[in-house]
């Protein structure tokens, strides 16, 4: 008997997806951040569901408002990647009988606060008894017809951009992140991006998803990747790394390391040590929950995008690489030299 553990999540999804029926009015289904379906004459609807499970996405000691924030935030981050406007949500709660009512109320307060902030109505859901606390959030959003941003659409020559700073999410960002809805809607409305994805599984994995759906490859200049200061916590601070405040203004704790790094070799070595140390916990809570946007922009628009972005947002924006025609090929470099990132510890992101 083959188990889920042996098969892996990605192959399971491939197998199950083949079984499931579709309809002519489905514009994008399984494999994208959101499903896109024909809604009205003017709008497509965007559909998304996601879950948080105790012991995996949060811990018994996690402040309950942050559990609710994360449960909804994960779904809003996917709507953001599509450039969607949130409309309506439903929440399925699973909880043991022994669950504290005060804790559950606080979970829903955290969720409600984020919903209110983005004009999302919570219109229904379900409550069921089960062994662990879980929240399953389903959301409907919309985008003007035919304009929703997808994982497909990147073309050779496009520039690869990322928002914010990556890594070290366990220091707290995975519970307090701001879904990049304004940024995603702006990218969609200005027709800047050819493909987008939100970073929930780590840069390497999510970039691979985007490349697969777009049938292209990419070269990433690792020295350009904006790395959050939290990644360096607990490490001997590299003398060449000095803090600077995060432009997104999310939290003072999210001080950024300077980029590009004077010495990528040292950085990679430190990252490798850190990942080895924290690998078990990272796996337990879900790797790489950055909830930043990764997207591609035609080269001829890249400079104009950066200029327009800086006028509009304080959120950091960084060009980290280029899309290539080598379908499925993901190459990493540092200062022009090809890197074997498996050896440097990047494999943990996969």
């Amino acid at each position: 008997m083959k188990t889920l553990h042996q098969l892996g999540e990605r192959d399971l999804i491939r197998q199950l997806a083949r079984l499931l029926p579709t309809r002519a009015d489905v514009r994008a289904g399984i494999g994208h951040d959101v499903a896109v379906v024909a809604g009205t004459a003017h709008h497509d609807f965007l559909l998304k569901s996601d879950a948080v499970v105790e012991g995996r996405h949060f811990l018994p000691a996690t402040p309950p408002r942050q559990i609710g924030h994360k449960a909804l935030g994960r779904v809003l981050s996917d709507l953001a990647a599509a450039g969607g406007e949130p409309l309506w949500g439903l929440v399925n709660l699973v909880a043991p009988r022994s669950a504290s009512v005060a804790r559950l109320r606080a979970v829903y307060q955290g969720l409600a606060a984020l919903a209110r902030q983005h004009q999302l109505a919570i219109v229904g859901g379900d409550t069921t008894e089960g062994p662990a606390l879980e929240l399953h959030v389903f959301a409907v959003g919309r985008a003007p017809r035919g304009t929703a941003l997808l994982r497909s659409g990147a073309r050779a020559g496009d520039v690869l951009f990322v928002t914010g700073a990556l890594g070290g999410s366990l220091a707290g960002k995975h519970l307090r992140f701001v879904p990049r809805l304004a940024e995603g809607q702006w990218l969609r409305a200005g027709r800047w991006a050819t493909a987008t994805i939100d970073l929930s599984d780590g840069l390497a994995t999510d970039l691979a998803h985007l490349l697969e759906m777009s049938r292209v490859g990419a070269e990433v200049q690792t020295e350009k990747i904006p790395v959050a200061a939290a990644v360096f916590q607990g490490l001997p601070a590299p003398s060449e790394v000095e803090g600077e405040k995060e432009t997104a203004g999310f939290s003072k704790a999210w001080t950024l390391a300077p980029s590009p790094f004077p010495s990528f070799g040292k950085y990679a070595e430190n990252i490798s040590k850190l990942w080895k140390k924290r690998a078990a916990l990272l796996h337990a809570l879900g790797d790489g929950e950055d909830f930043e946007l990764l997207f591609t922009v035609p080269r001829r628009k890249a400079a104009a995008l950066e200029k327009a972005w800086r006028k509009k947002f304080r959120t950091r924006l960084t060009a980290i690489g280029t899309i290539t025609a080598d379908a499925g090929q993901l190459a990493w470099s540092a200062a022009g030299k090809t890197l074997d990132l498996k050896a440097a510890g990047f494999e943990h992101f996969r």
Copy 2:
């Protein structure tokens, strides 16, 4: 610390619902079988989510295709109550790492077969590791603008109807039921029903929900309630009960007991014994999963409805009572005499 067990599900939902934001385009939210939101110029959209959890809604030994059938069927039954047309669905899977891939495939095959039958596309979802097997299904349906059937809308004098036969669901119907989509859509299109609900928690509980949302009361003539033969299994067969085949053609096992019963007293006594015996298991698997429709029709239309129904459907239809102006009051009678159904064992339905 107050626990969920002490508060109960109904009060929990009331408390949580008060925290949650809404929007002007929400026509019906928490408290109905489905949420109704403004969709296009011609249609409202219907949103629903529900869950099945191992140990509660099915058992480790349950045939996996039936688990998938039930998971989606529960949601389609709610769309049926609103008279909705199913469109798109998302499925969140929770499973332990040790789960058999073959079993999960069979679960999705059962779900896909039912989806295909009702032209529902499965457009996304999520897979997460967790302690028990669970499926969370979200579905979007539609109904012509302003016509979706709700729990509110019943008025004093309306006749109370129920489809099919009730009770004994654990004999298998809870895993194999046919969502009453055709019947619900027909009731909606013909503007027959003033209020509807699908029977998932048992007649007494679900009728109470309908009365609460409609701010009315009801008198139910218990001798008219169509009872499934499965209710009598394991009991000394009452000599006055003879089987007759179910008109819905669902399964030969669903032989109906004749109605009205010659002796309601004997019936109530047997039911009481049975419920006491099976109460623990019933609670474990979720009481009263009949997935029939309960609905109200203006008295002046009742005879015409019954005639038109018989022309259109083989599904059994039974008038079991009347709506009254006594808000929240639910009275049970047998052959004109008021019954105390708590004493007769009906309390288990609550």
